[in-house]
């Protein structure tokens, strides 16, 4: 299988943005969350981490963003990482309920001491991108689940990050909203060309969105297979119903099943 992974990796290499090399993560209570994890993400790439719950997907994102420390191994970035170079979107929208949509999106810039006057236009622009401009003054509780998630994505993008980490961002949404947000995400990614590492446990979502799917197994968490989805972008509903899409879904499903059998 290792040979297989290496063979596939040789196609269209992009310069590496960030890499986890032989990473182990053991928690204080003795849980081994990740064991010998090797993961390289190329610049402007869209990678999905697909795996059953508890296999260490969230932990991997936390390690990459330095919210948690490695127990062993190395985290290598291709260049300097400044504050704001990483955007994070959680499964819950995680908005401040006491602040307006504008203030929520403005937060990352405010924490970098940029004045409202200086960056107000930039915040408005991002709100425009996610279609929330007219809800600028609304409070989170006045928004639907999908709109809250858009606000959360806008907040992650407002610093123009190099890397966007998304931890099952659409898992709590209904299917129609999820499909729409999938398309919006691809549109944003196509326009800006930041890198995305997208965590999901949905086979369909991972195939629809990503260029590359890394399938993980649990106990201990590790990457067991890699699937390239070589379909061109932009992808749309026609892709969702095409035969190649179905073939990739079958392949990813089978890989996921094997991964779950291994743990």
């Amino acid at each position: 299988m290792t040979v297989d992974v290496l063979a596939r990796r040789s196609t269209t290499p992009k310069p590496t943005l960030v890499e986890l090399q032989g990473v182990h993560k053991t928690f204080a209570n003795g849980t081994v969350a990740l064991e010998n994890l090797n993961l390289a993400v190329g610049e402007h790439e869209f990678v999905s981490l697909l795996g059953p719950s508890g296999c260490g997907k969230s932990t991997a994102l936390r390690l990459i963003s330095r919210l948690a420390g490695l127990s062993a191994g190395r985290l290598v970035w291709s260049g300097e990482v400044a504050v704001g170079d990483i955007g994070f979107v959680f499964q819950e929208p995680t908005l401040m309920p006491w602040a307006s949509v504008f203030d929520n999106v403005y937060l990352p810039l405010r924490l970098q001491r940029m004045s409202r006057r200086a960056v107000g236009a930039r915040v408005d622009e991002v709100l425009d991108l996610v279609g929330l401009r007219e809800f600028s003054n609304a409070y989170p509780r006045e928004l639907s689940g999908g709109m809250k998630m858009r606000a959360s994505i806008a907040r992650a993008l407002v610093t123009e990050p190099k890397l966007l980490l998304m931890d099952e961002p659409f898992a709590a949404l209904d299917e129609i909203t999820r499909f729409r947000l999938n398309d919006d995400l691809l549109r944003l990614w196509a326009g800006r060309r930041f890198t995305v590492v997208f965590v999901t446990h949905s086979v369909f979502e991972s195939v629809y969105l990503s260029e590359r799917i890394l399938v993980m197994a649990a106990r201990p968490g590790r990457i067991v297979e890699e699937i390239r989805v070589d379909a061109p972008y932009p992808r749309d509903d026609a892709f969702r119903t095409s035969e190649p899409y179905n073939a990739w879904c079958r392949e990813a499903s089978a890989a996921l099943k094997r991964a779950m059998g291994e743990s």
Binding site: S65, L67, V83, G84, I86, F88, F90, E92, T94, M96, P97, W98, A99, L107, P108, R110, L111, Q112, Y139, P140, R141, T159
Partner: protein, 296 residues
């Protein structure tokens, strides 16, 4: 309302045998009427009950010829309230002053200490026991001591009122400061927020509903603390607040005046409660579940 996709044809309407729009508006009217009636009843019902209770009290006193030095009727209490207003209003002012100063110090001290607690685990571990001891010791039991040790009676009263008002604010605010969403805390860390920014933009706003809950309790307790301390001070109370008036009227068997002072204390307590509820509502109505109207 959902979008109307197809307009019903005239034949459809005839088949329905009536104007659907008219029935709709009639139903809406009935609903509005019911809502209005409920709004009025909300005020009228408790007022009517209160008036009935007062009337019954007056009647019982009048019927049985109860002497006014045992139980005065409400009319006599009201009369005393008006006639003695000069003395009583002065005392009310004194009590209010102690209450609000104690509350103000409790807010500043409680919130300040809560912030300190949340910044340093060690400060919390070492100081929290003292706060608990202050809280669990009955104020009537320590008031005489405080009155002995502190020269100024006014300051002693203030300290007593502060002791009882302080704890709910401290403990609620501490709880609130520690209840900020974990992923939001992660986000602040990701964006390199320092302690002060995390406090200012995340933990203090998250603590607001808890603080306001504590304030509601503390307001009433400050008044109780002030009154209890005045009782303990007794005739030594140079400031002569409402409790002092009650004691004084008691010695003179001026029962109507005792009731009048009591009424003023209750009204003050109610006013403090309503004011803190209003403040809480105004500050939270845009975002907190406790204050937003439920859609129905």
């Amino acid at each position: 309302m959902s979008t109307v996709l197809e307009q019903p044809t005239l034949a459809d309407r005839a088949a329905l045998g009536g104007d659907a729009a008219a029935t709709d508006s009639a139903a809406a009217d009935a609903h509005a009427r019911r809502a209005r009636r409920e709004r009025v009843l909300r005020w009228v019902a408790p007022i009517a009950i209160a008036l009935a209770a007062l009337g019954l009290w007056e009647l019982v006193v009048w019927w049985n010829d109860v002497p006014h030095y045992i139980l005065p009727g409400p009319s006599l209490v009201a009369q005393s309230l008006v006639e003695d207003w000069g003395t009583l209003s002065g005392s009310l002012l004194v009590t209010l002053q102690v209450t609000f100063m104690a509350l103000a110090v409790a807010i500043v001290g409680g919130v300040g200490l809560a912030v300190l607690f949340s910044l340093s685990k060690w400060v919390e571990l070492s100081l929290f026991p003292f706060a608990v001891v202050l809280q669990v010791t009955p104020i009537v039991a320590i008031a005489p001591l405080i009155l002995i040790y502190v020269d100024s009676t006014q300051v002693a009263l203030l300290i007593c009122a502060w002791i009882v008002a302080f704890f709910p604010i401290l403990s609620n605010t501490t709880l609130g400061l520690n209840s900020a969403d974990h992923n939001l805390q992660n986000l602040f860390e990701l964006y390199g927020a320092n302690r002060w920014q995390t406090m200012r933009f995340l933990r203090l706003p998250a603590a607001m509903p808890y603080f306001l809950g504590g304030l509601k309790i503390a307001g009433g307790l400050a008044l109780i603390g002030a009154i209890v301390a005045e009782f303990a001070a007794g005739s030594a109370g140079t400031g002569s607040g409402l409790a002092y008036r009650i004691l004084e009227a008691g010695y003179r068997l001026d029962i109507p005046r005792m009731f009048a002072a009591l009424v003023l204390i209750s009204l003050t307590g109610i006013a403090i409660f309503l004011a803190s509820s209003l403040l809480s509502h105004l500050l939270l109505r845009r975002w907190h579940e406790s204050a937003v109207k439920r859609e129905s």
